[in-house]
């Protein structure tokens, strides 16, 4: 397997793909947003319970490639307990990682996605769950998609 491909499919990603965390619906959710990329068929819904400004609980469900599913799974572990502003900041960092491959040392798990940047067609897979989560936080009723923009 090439170095690029093993960079893309890091152990962390394979692990989240095989054993997704926080997968399923959330009966107590007070925010839900749906994300889909119609041309490739990936779907990801994010369910969260906001307690004041903080994400008290968060789950995702949907179907798609290993990159999209692992990214959504890992995201839920990172966003729990965060405020909307903190979530946005984390996404900005994640976006920087997947588009440039540069990962600051302090955010080790998200750095597993650095390999995505050499596969530009897959960036939209990695960011789909995040867009759904940000929409849920904003209360945006529109389904999120990452196919219309570059990221």
């Amino acid at each position: 397997m090439s170095a690029d491909l093993s960079e893309l499919y890091q152990q962390v990603i394979l692990d989240h793909n095989r054993r997704p965390r926080n997968r399923g619906k959330l009966p107590t959710a007070n925010r839900v947003a749906h994300g889909n990329n119609p041309s490739c068929g990936d779907e990801c819904s994010v369910h969260l319970r906001l307690d004041g400004d903080r994400i008290a609980e968060i789950t995702f469900d949907g179907s798609g490639c290993a990159i999209s599913q692992a990214s959504a799974s890992l995201m839920t572990t990172q966003l729990k307990g965060k405020t909307a502003a903190e979530a946005q900041k984390l996404y900005d960092e994640f976006h920087h990682i997947v588009t440039t491959g540069e990962a600051p040392a302090e955010i080790s798990d998200l750095a597993a996605f650095a390999g995505v940047h050499t596969f530009p067609a897959r960036i939209k897979c990695a960011t789909l769950g995040w867009h759904a989560a940000l929409n849920a936080l904003k209360g945006d009723p529109l389904p999120a998609t990452t196919e219309t923009h570059k990221d």
Partner: protein, 411 residues
């Protein structure tokens, strides 16, 4: 059988490395590669004959017109149409179907009528009918696909109840781009004709792969794309019976399709000009004619036999990979030259990304067939689709790659 090595030599694009491996192009269902003679036809036209057609009296315009109309006659012969005027050049299958859905369906359908199609249609032969039905208050009904893996093909027995007098149009695909199922087009057309319904065949997947005779099939309309039959992109065909095309309202109006224009209005020429407003896609039509020549030289029966041969080898070798689910006809049954499959644990896009490392061009996704995918409980499949230049050795590359992927993801 034809000479595979010689055929491969006709396609310049095949002789390259992708990710350090020889290209194994198995995405022919999406688009085929182009032989040298088709590329040469384009170059020759632009270097020697380029001019606008029909309106000119100078040498180049006459040459361009002769070549363009020659291509029309060539395509007519290719599908055994009675008259070149029954060939309308379009952008492709999608546009051809839309012309009927706009012109014929909206003029002839009324509330309560039924458009009958099947559960295995490409979105291009589905959405235009839904839109036409919506516009006039008609209903779209579907011939069911049988079997948990769609292995049973169309439910022909259901035609007895589905073909009611309310059915005014039957539209169906000749070969499914997702399943590989070969539908019995002549039987479907005969049944529809018996109740006076108009028939539309989506021949996108069959045109370059099997002999097509519109008279023997007994269809009223037939649509296909040049790019899936060794021709260029941007050119396709709508075949229609002459009387139907001459009645059909033009979808687009403008130059070239009018008899007489006054400040008050205009009158239309008969087919084909009636349906080709504006400067047509001259170069690509001419190159499509060259593609017809190329395919007939090799022989479409030989191509169909080659497709079948590769599909059977692929079925045999793929079906033993642990965890694979193949949809469409079972091994040994007739199928077009493609195989669609899914693994519970590995998503199609991961497969396609991995296979690309091995030089393989595959397609993963819903193949513009979302309702069928949903019915089969799938969100996507990986598809390997073959053509006249593919070899059995290339299937071995595919199988080895899938074993490696399966091992990586599942262990």
């Amino acid at each position: 059988m034809f000479d595979l090595a010689r055929t491969r030599a006709d396609f310049p694009i095949l002789h390259q490395q992708v990710n350090g491996k020889p290209l194994v192009y198995l995405d022919n269902g999406a688009t085929s590669q182009k032989p040298r003679c088709v590329i040469d036809a384009l170059v020759h036209y632009y270097e020697r004959d380029n001019s606008n057609v029909h309106r000119g009296l100078h040498a180049l315009s006459m040459r361009a017109t002769d070549a363009y109309e020659g291509a029309r006659a060539r395509v007519a012969k290719f599908i055994h149409a009675a008259d070149p005027a029954e060939i309308i050049f379009t952008r492709g299958t999608t546009e051809s179907i839309n012309i009927i859905a706009h012109g014929w369906a909206r003029a002839h359908l009324k509330a309560g009528d039924v458009i009958l199609t099947t559960e295995m249609e490409h979105h291009s032969n589905l959405v235009p009918w839904q839109q036409a039905a919506r516009a006039v208050g008609a209903t779209v009904r579907y011939i069911p696909v049988l079997g948990a893996d769609a292995e049973g093909g169309l439910d022909y027995a259901a035609l007895d109840t589905l073909l009611t007098p309310a059915v005014k149009l039957l539209a169906f695909t000749h070969i499914s781009n997702t399943l590989g199922t070969i539908n019995d087009a002549a039987r479907l057309c005969a049944r529809a004709r018996a109740i006076g319904a108009v028939t539309v065949i989506d021949a996108a997947q069959s045109i370059g792969h099997t002999r097509i005779d519109v008279e023997a099939l007994g269809c009223d309309f037939l649509a296909f794309s040049g790019h899936k039959m060794c021709g260029p992109t941007g050119i396709g065909v709508l075949y229609g019976r002459r009387d139907l095309l001459d009645q059909l309202a033009p979808d687009e109006t403008g130059g070239g399709m009018v008899v007489s224009v006054t400040y008050e209005g205009a009158t239309w020429k008969p087919s084909p000009e009636r349906h080709e407003a504006g400067t047509p896609n001259i170069a690509d039509a001419i190159a499509l004619g060259a593609a017809c020549d190329y395919l007939d030289e090799i022989g479409r029966d030989a191509i169909a036999a080659h497709d079948h041969h590769l599909a059977q080898i692929a079925m045999e070798k793929l079906s033993v990979i642990p965890g694979i689910r193949i949809i469409g006809p079972r091994a040994g049954q007739p199928r077009g030259g493609l195989v669609s499959f899914a693994f519970a644990e590995v998503h199609a896009h991961d497969i396609v990304t991995f296979a690309d490392e091995d030089g393989l061009a595959l397609r993963g996704g819903h193949h513009c067939n979302q309702p069928l995918m949903r019915k089969l409980g799938l969100t996507s499949t990986t598809r390997a689709s073959f053509y006249l230049y593919n070899t059995a050795a290339e299937i071995d590359v595919l199988v080895a790659s899938l074993h490696r992927i399966q091992k990586f993801f599942v262990g």
